[in-house]
Symmetry: C2
Subunit: 575 residues, 2 copies
C-alpha cells in the first residue's frame, strides 16, 4: 500500500526539501486550515504586518536562500500582495505564492462569498496573477494535486520567478500519495541533450582573439544560477570586470580586477574611454532596463558583445538558442586555456570603488551624499547584507566597495519605494537561518543593514514589528530629508507633493515593541556619525538598531539625480 | 477662437465640478508633472503614506462626498493600490484612479523602462485593471482626450464604481478645448424614454395588497442614489424597516419603525418570526453576499420580495429591466396613496437597537463585547461618522443605535482587514470639507470615530500620520486583543499564526508626529472606559485622539463569531 499524507503537508514538505525554512504571510479565513500544516512540516511561520510587506519579505528571503514563500488569502490578501509579487517577477526572485481559496463546494455552487469581485466569480484573481507569475496552478483534484505542485515549483526554481498556487480550503486535508517526496523535484539537467560545442567554441574563439576584453555582470546571473561559474571565469580571465546596478553585490568585489558598477555616461572618463575601446564584452544575465543602464548609456555595443541570457546566447548580431547558460558557462571553464587569452600587462589604470575615512571629513560639517557612502562602506563586515531602498539610498549604496561574502541588493528595474525594509526582514531571516545551520561561509556575526529614506520608510514601516518580534539582526539607517528626494530631483523640487509627514523616527523601535535599551541614534554631522559608527552599542549585540541621518532636502548621490536636479534648476532660470 | 486649457487641467476642473475637493495619492516619476495641475484647479493634494492607504482613503472620501480620486504612478503605484480599488468596485465607492504613465515616445519606442513588467510592455497594468474597474480609458490623442475623460467620469458617477485613467506624462500639458467644462457631465436622465408605469403599478399593487409588509434596505441603495427616496418611502409607509450590514448607517435610524440590522438566524426570535410571516419585503439595493446576509440566512424569500436593483426590478420570480431605480422610487412616492396601505395598529412589538448606560455595568469588571457597543454608542453625536474595521469591530459597531445624520460604514463583502483607518482619513476629510462649506446639516462639531483591532491597525497604521498632518478630527479606538480575534473564532484559536506583534499602541500619535498633549488613554474595565468617554479632553478640541481598549483574546460580539468559536471548542472536545 502506498504511503500517504495530506496535500498541504506534501506542499510544505516539498518546499522544505527545496531549502525553505520559513513561510511568510498573513492569515485569512480560507488559509487558516492550511497554516496548521506549516510547523508540523518543520517550517516556521513568519506573520507579516500586511500582505505587501510579506511579499517583499519573501522576495528578500528568496534572494538570499534561493526560494521564498508567501501565503495569503483569496482576493483581499493576494491583491494586497501583488505589487511585491510583480517585483519578484521582474527582478527574478523565486517566490511561491500560495493562496487559500474558498472550498470547492462554494466555488461549484457559485455562491456570492465575501472577498469575491462578482457574485460566483472565483477566477478573476487567478487570471490577474497570470500577468505577474511564470506559472500558475489551481489545485482541485487530489489525484493530480502533487504533480501540479511539483510542476509549478519546478518552474519557480528553474526560472527564478514567482509562481501562483490556488489552494481551496477543503483540499488541505485531502489524502495523497507522498511517493513523490522520495525524489527531488525534476529540474532540467544543465547538460543539453544535443551537445552545443558549436556555441562554446564560438565564444572561446572570440575570447581568444580579443585584444581588449572586459566582463559585464548583470543581475539575472543570480536567477540563472551561474554566479559561481561567472566568478570562476572572472578569476581565470583576470579581465576588468564591471557590474550593472542589478549585478552589484553578487560576486566577490575584493578581486583585483573588479571595478564596481559601470555607470555609462555618468562614469569616470577613464572607464568610459576604456570600455568604448573594448572589442569584447562578455556579458552575463543582462536586464537592460532604463534604470539599470543609466538611461541605456551603459549598454554595451551589440557588435562587440556576447550576451549570455537564460534563453539565448547572443554573439554580436547572431542569436543562438537552446544552449543553457549553466552548461555554456561551465563548459567555458572546462575548455578555457587561459594562456590563449589576452593578459593585460600592465593591468590598465581603471577606477575602483574605494572607502573613505572619517579623517577626510570635518567633524562639524553636515553629512552629505558625496562622501556618505564611502564612509559608511567602511562599517561593512564580511557576510553583511546591504539593502538600499529605491531613491537616494538605492543610488548611494552602489558606491560602496564591499567586503568578501557581503551581499547587496536594491530594486534595479521594478523600483518600488518602500521595498527595502520588508525585504531586509526576509533577507535577515534567511541570513539568521543560514548562520544557525553553519551554511554562511563560517561567518557568525553578519548583519543586515538597510538604508531607506523617510518617504520609503513610511510606506512599509510596520515591518519593524516583525524584525523586532523575530529578533532579527537588522540595522535600519533612516535618511530623513523631509520628503521624496529622488522625485524632488526629477521634478517639483519645491512642491508640497514631494513632502512627507514628519515622524519622530527614532521612536519607531519602542513603538513597534522593542525592548528598553534598543540602540537608536541621530546624526547631522560627520562627527556625530563617526560617534555612532564607532559605538560598541551599534556594533555588538543582537536585534534591531536604528540610526537617523538628517540630510539636505536636495542633496543626492552623484550621477543621474544630480544631473536631473541641475536640469530642473536651469529650466527655472530659463537656461 | 475656442478657449483652451491643458488636458490635466481639464481633468481636475471636471473633478472639481463633480464635487471633489481633495485628491489622494502618492507621487512617482511619471505623475509629477500631472500633480502640478491639482492646486491651480482649486483642489487639495492629500499625500498618502502609501498607495493602498490612499486608495482606501479615496474610497472613504467617496462614500461621504460621492466621488473620490487617487493618483498613482505606473506599475508599482497602481498595483500597490489595486486591492483598495477592487474593494471600491465591490462595495460601490466611486473612485477615479488616475495613473501617470510613461511618455508616448517611450511607449511607442517599446523601450524597457523601469516599473514595467516586461521590456516594452505598457499594457499589462491596464489589462489587469479591467477586472476591478467599471470603465477604463487610455489617454493618447489630445483631440479625443476630453471626451474620453468625460465618458469614464460619467460611468464612475452613474455606477458608483471605480474607473481607470491612463495619463501619459507628456500629455499633461497638451492643449485642449475647454468648451466641455461649460456643461455638466452627461449622466443618464432618471426619467426613462419609455415610461414604465407598468412596473410602478405592479409594485403599488403588491404594496396595497400586503397584509404584513416590511422594508429591507441594503447598501447598494447609496450607489444607486435612491437613499432620499427610500427614506421617504419608509416614512410614508411606516412599515417595519431593517437593513443589512452594508445598509447600516445610511438612513435616519431614529425613525420609530427602524429596527436595525436583520441578522437572519442570529436575530431575536421576535424579528425572525415576524419576517418569516411577512408577505412582502420591499428590498432596495441588495448585495446578498454570504457575509452581508449572515450566511444567506437573512436573504428574504424570493416569492414575497420586490428587489429594486440598479439594473432590474425583481417582483417575485419576474425580472423587469430598463426601469431605473431612481425613477421607480420617485414614481412610487408620487403615486403612493398611503391610505391604501396596510397600517400596523397596534405597531408590532419588534426589537430595536438600544444604548446602555454605565450604571448597568460594574466599574471594576473587564470591558467585554456583550455590552461594549451599546455603551460606546451613547457617545455618538449627530453627524458623526463611525467606522468599524473588518473583524470584531466591524461586527460590533453594527449593534449601535445611531443618532440623526450619523453615518456608519464597514466593509460588508470585500472585507479587508486594515481598511477602516485609511478610510476614516478620507471620510474625516470629506466631513471636514462639508462642515467648512456649511453643507453638513448645520452640524459643526461632528467627528469621525474608527474602531479597529490590533491586527487591522498594524496593516495600515501609517495613515495616522496623514490624519495628524491634515489635522482631521478622528478618534481611533484600538481594540487590543493580541491578534486576529475573528480568525481565532473561526479556526486555530490557540495557534501562533493568529497572534500579532505586540506594539505600544498609545505611542502611535507621538511617533506619527502629533503635537504634545494629544489625547491618549487606555482602558481594561468599565470604570476606566467611563472615565475616558466622559473626559472633556476626548470630547472637545480638534485633531486625533486615540483610545486603547484591552480586551479578551477570545471575546467577540454576539452572533456568527461566537457561534463559530463554540463550534471550534465543541470539535476540540470531540462533541
Amino acid at each position: 500500500m502506498a504511503s500517504t499524507t495530506k496535500l498541504a503537508d506534501y506542499l510544505f514538505q516539498r518546499l522544505r526539501q527545496l531549502g525553505v525554512s520559513s513561510v511568510h504571510g498573513v492569515p485569512g479565513d480560507t488559509t487558516l486550515p492550511l497554516l496548521d500544516y506549516i510547523e508540523p512540516a518543520g517550517l516556521r511561520w513568519i506573520g507579516g504586518a500586511n500582505e505587501l510587506n510579506a511579499a517583499y519579505a519573501a522576495d528578500g528571503y528568496a534572494r538570499i536562500k534561493g526560494l521564498g514563500v508567501i501565503v495569503t488569502t483569496f482576493g483581499v490578501g493576494e491583491l494586497s500582495a501583488i505589487n511585491g509579487v510583480a517585483g519578484a517577477f521582474v527582478e527574478r526572485a523565486a517566490v511561491v505564492h500560495i493562496v487559500g481559496t474558498p472550498s470547492r463546494a462554494d466555488q461549484d455552487s457559485r455562491r456570492f462569498v465575501h472577498h469575491s469581485i462578482k457574485p460566483g466569480d472565483f477566477r478573476t484573481f487567478g487570471q490577474i496573477y497570470t500577468h505577474v507569475t511564470i506559472a500558475q496552478t489551481r489545485l482541485w483534484d487530489p489525484q493530480t494535486g502533487t504533480e501540479q505542485i511539483d510542476e509549478v515549483l519546478s518552474q519557480c526554481v528553474r526560472h527564478s520567478r514567482p509562481v501562483y498556487i490556488e489552494f481551496p480550503v477543503d483540499l488541505v486535508s485531502a489524502v495523497v500519495s507522498n511517493d513523490g517526496l522520495k525524489y527531488g523535484i525534476k529540474v532540467p539537467d544543465p547538460e543539453p541533450l544535443v551537445p552545443r560545442d558549436d556555441v562554446v567554441n564560438k565564444i572561446l574563439h572570440r575570447m581568444y582573439h580579443s585584444k581588449q576584453p572586459i566582463v559585464l555582470l548583470d543581475g539575472e546571473s543570480r536567477a540563472m544560477g551561474i554566479l559561481d561559474n561567472v566568478q570562476r571565469l572572472i578569476e581565470l580571465t583576470q579581465w576588468p570586470t564591471w557590474t550593472t546596478p542589478f549585478g552589484k553585490g553578487l560576486i566577490d568585489e575584493t578581486l583585483p580586477n573588479f571595478h564596481g558598477i559601470y555607470r555609462g555616461k555618468y562614469d569616470d572618463e577613464a572607464a568610459r574611454t576604456f570600455i568604448a575601446a573594448t572589442d569584447l564584452v562578455l556579458c552575463f544575465g543582462p536586464q537592460f532596463s532604463l534604470t539599470n543602464t543609466y538611461s541605456f548609456s551603459s549598454v554595451p555595443k551589440v557588435e562587440v558583445t556576447i550576451c549570455i541570457t537564460d534563453t539565448t546566447i547572443q554573439i554580436g548580431n547572431e542569436t543562438l538558442r537552446d544552449a543553457p547558460a549553466k552548461y555554456v558557462t561551465s563548459s567555458l571553464i572546462k575548455k578555457l586555456v587561459p594562456s590563449n587569452l589576452m593578459r593585460y600587462d600592465p593591468y590598465p589604470n581603471l577606477p575602483r570603488d574605494s572607502l573613505l575615512d572619517f579623517s577626510e571629513v570635518p567633524d562639524n560639517h553636515l553629512v552629505t551624499h558625496d562622501h556618505l557612502w564611502r564612509i559608511v562602506g567602511s562599517m561593512m563586515r564580511p557576510g553583511d547584507i546591504i539593502l538600499g531602498d529605491t531613491g537616494t539610498s538605492g543610488h548611494g549604496v552602489r558606491e560602496m566597495a564591499l567586503p568578501k561574502h557581503a551581499r547587496m541588493f536594491t530594486h534595479a528595474t521594478w523600483l518600488c519605494v518602500g521595498y527595502a525594509l520588508p525585504a531586509a526582514q526576509g533577507a535577515a531571516l534567511a541570513q539568521q537561518e543560514s548562520i544557525a545551520s553553519s551554511e554562511y561561509f563560517g561567518i557568525t556575526d553578519a548583519r543586515t543593514i538597510v538604508f531607506i529614506g523617510d518617504g520609503g520608510f513610511q510606506m512599509t514601516l510596520q515591518e519593524l514589528a516583525t524584525i523586532i518580534r523575530y529578533n532579527l539582526d537588522v540595522i535600519v539607517v533612516l535618511i530623513n530629508n523631509q520628503g521624496y528626494a529622488t522625485e524632488r530631483c526629477l521634478h517639483g523640487r519645491n512642491q508640497a507633493y514631494n513632502e512627507v509627514a514628519p515622524l519622530r523616527y527614532l521612536q519607531a523601535p519602542a513603538f513597534f515593541g522593542a525592548q528598553d535599551g534598543v540602540y537608536t541614534a541621530s546624526a547631522r554631522t560627520w562627527g556625530e556619525l563617526k560617534e555612532i559608527l564607532q559605538s560598541p552599542n551599534l556594533n555588538s549585540g543582537q536585534g534591531l538598531k536604528m540610526v537617523e541621518l538628517v540630510m539636505g532636502r536636495e542633496d543626492a548621490p552623484k550621477g543621474g539625480l544630480q544631473f536631473a536636479l541641475r536640469m530642473q534648476k536651469n529650466m527655472e532660470a530659463g537656461l
